[in-house]
């Protein structure tokens, strides 16, 4: 109770609330300018007003199709992201630890890395048997390269004195890996996954728009990206904004969860 009160009346919370309120108020005035003052403010005058968006949004809250979009996008993000972590972290660590492994895989990796994930969309639609798999694959690529590069960089920049100390105290290679390399790389893994998560949301939305939202194209159940695209095609402009804000909220929740998990995994960094 008191923690909640402290949070809501904390100076930075108040600032954040004021900032959001002012932004929404200006937007409302701009969007309603034609109705209220008789002339439309350029650009802003043509977009739906926040109150109208809110109205539509409340209506959508009871619509299973809207939640289906959330569910599908989240599913794709999680599937792509988790696969990227599961493959990317060991790959990055292996490249950092083994010279031979690095020499073999790094050139290929570096050649594939600059290709934007969205450039993979057509190829993956051809390659993967289902639309769902191709979207997830592209999402995976979005996080994969970032995760690997961060893990590799983190593991390679470990202070050589840590290895020397461990070695001098009789640590085996496996123990050095488990208790030096791994924990020393965790902060980079956390950073890499936070960045990767952001890219994943960018990619999933774009992929859904391009590929037509997976199996349920035609309905309103093709993920948030498809939800936005469909609203645009159908002329439901308020829904476009609802979709955009939904993605913002979903992305924020994901990042916040990752931050919490990251903080839990790196207690020694919390103490600064």
């Amino acid at each position: 109770m008191s923690t909640a009160r402290r949070f809501f009346f904390h100076r930075s919370t108040l600032r954040a609330l004021i900032s959001i309120l002012v932004f929404v108020a200006l937007w409302e005035v701009g969007a309603r300018s034609k109705q209220w003052f008789g002339f439309a403010v350029p650009w802003v005058g043509n977009i739906p007003a926040p109150t109208a968006v809110l109205h539509v949004w409340i209506g959508l809250l009871g619509d299973p199709g809207y939640w289906q979009s959330w569910y599908l996008s989240l599913l794709r993000v999680l599937a792509g992201f988790l696969t990227a972590m599961v493959i990317g972290i060991p790959l990055g660590l292996l490249m950092a630890v083994s010279r031979n492994f690095n020499d073999t895989f790094f050139p290929t990796f570096e050649m594939l890395r600059p290709i934007p994930p969205l450039a993979w969309v057509p190829a993956s639609i051809i390659f993967w048997p289902t639309q769902e798999l191709s979207i997830t694959f592209v999402t995976f690529l979005g996080a994969f390269f970032t995760v690997v590069i961060n893990v590799l960089g983190g593991a390679k920049s470990i202070d050589v004195r840590y290895f020397q100390s461990a070695q001098a105290m009789g640590a085996s290679k496996w123990d050095t890996f488990r208790r030096i390399v791994l924990p020393a790389t965790v902060p980079s893994i956390v950073v890499g996954s936070a960045v990767g998560m952001g890219i994943t949301w960018n990619v999933v939305v774009a992929a859904e728009m391009i590929s037509g939202g997976g199996g349920q194209a035609g309905g309103s159940g093709g993920g948030l990206g498809y939800f936005i695209w469909n609203s645009y095609v159908g002329g439901a402009y308020e829904q476009i904004v609802v979709g955009m804000i939904s993605i913002g909220i979903a992305g924020y929740i994901c990042s916040e969860l990752l931050r919490m998990l990251g903080g839990y995994l790196t207690p020694w960094l919390r103490t600064r």
Partner: protein, 297 residues
């Protein structure tokens, strides 16, 4: 504190076989051809069993290079290094290095850092744990056992690192300017902690420094090094009885005699290349000779 010791039956000197390192005609150079740089040349000395040998030399003279050679992280270009008669071929747990700056693992608490060595060797035994407890008491970090290195002050980090090294019962402990960068107060405190640990353990210690007061307070034997390429210029036996006391050492004639001798040699070496640190030495010699004169008059 003593209850822990009694209950566990462990003590610092329990199962230590102090080692001896013989360095003979060691040379080390880096680079090739015309860019070759000799850092150590024709260097010979013995780190005697059970003694605290302090090496002092002008900064940048190649002391840290010697440490890397002794630790086995690098190989000498010429000559040989033997520990207990066996040539050094790589790092080993018979020698332990405490580095210049803290190399405590940031992701481990004080206790986990101290227990690293035993755990790494699969010796997380009751005995090792009670030794860790005893060392925590000895270095005054019992209350900080669950803190991470970033939560400790510079002096505490150094003490934690001493404990982390000592738990491994190394035959030789090598310390590379371990108290550098600490403020004067913590430094003197660390000298006392460290010399007490040394006196109790009786193991072979090799301590590198650029601080003459530190050297004289700690040393059994003092190796004074030449400038780069480094070799031993002179060996001084510091026959001041232990335990030593910082305050009384200031007025101790034997201590000041050793200090004068060491400083004039260091001064010469420093002047050879205008290396940093020579001014402090010159100032001391000047001030000290003034004091001698006024005493005589």
């Amino acid at each position: 504190m003593s209850a822990v010791e009694k209950a566990s039956g462990t003590s610092l000197s329990a199962k230590i076989q102090p080692g001896e390192i013989v360095v003979s005609d060691v040379g080390k150079s880096y680079g090739e051809g015309q860019f070759i740089k000799e850092v150590v040349k024709g260097c010979s000395f013995t780190i005697e069993r059970g003694k605290l040998t302090v090496m002092i030399g002008p900064s940048g003279c190649g002391k840290s290079t010697l440490i890397r050679l002794l630790a086995g992280f690098e190989k000498p270009t010429s000559g040989s290094i033997k520990i207990n008669g066996k040539p050094v071929t790589g790092p080993g747990k018979d020698r332990l290095v405490v580095f210049q700056e803290s190399a405590l693992f940031p992701w481990m608490t004080t206790y986990d850092n101290i227990m690293y060595g035993p755990r790494a060797r699969g010796e997380d035994t009751k005995e090792a744990r009670s030794l860790a407890e005893m060392l925590l008491d000895k270095v005054g970090l019992r209350a900080f056992r669950k803190k991470y290195p970033t939560q400790l002050s510079g002096g505490m980090q150094r003490r934690a690192e001493l404990a982390r090294a000592m738990i491994n019962n190394p035959e030789v402990m090598i310390l590379d300017e371990p108290f550098r960068g600490l403020d004067a107060m913590s430094k003197e405190l660390m000298w006392e902690y460290y010399s007490r640990l040394y006196e109790e353990s009786g193991r072979t210690n090799f301590f590198i420094t650029t601080d003459i007061d530190e050297a004289i307070f700690l040393a059994d034997r003092l190796l004074i090094m030449t400038n780069v390429p480094t070799q031993v210029r002179s060996v001084v036996e510091v026959d001041i009885p232990r335990p030593r006391d910082i305050v009384s050492l200031v007025d101790d004639d034997r201590a000041n005699e050793v200090k004068m001798e060491a400083l004039s040699l260091l001064h010469e070496e420093a002047m050879k290349s205008f290396a940093g640190g020579s001014k402090a030495a010159a100032d001391f010699i000047e001030a000290y000779s003034k004091r001698l004169r006024t005493r005589k008059e």
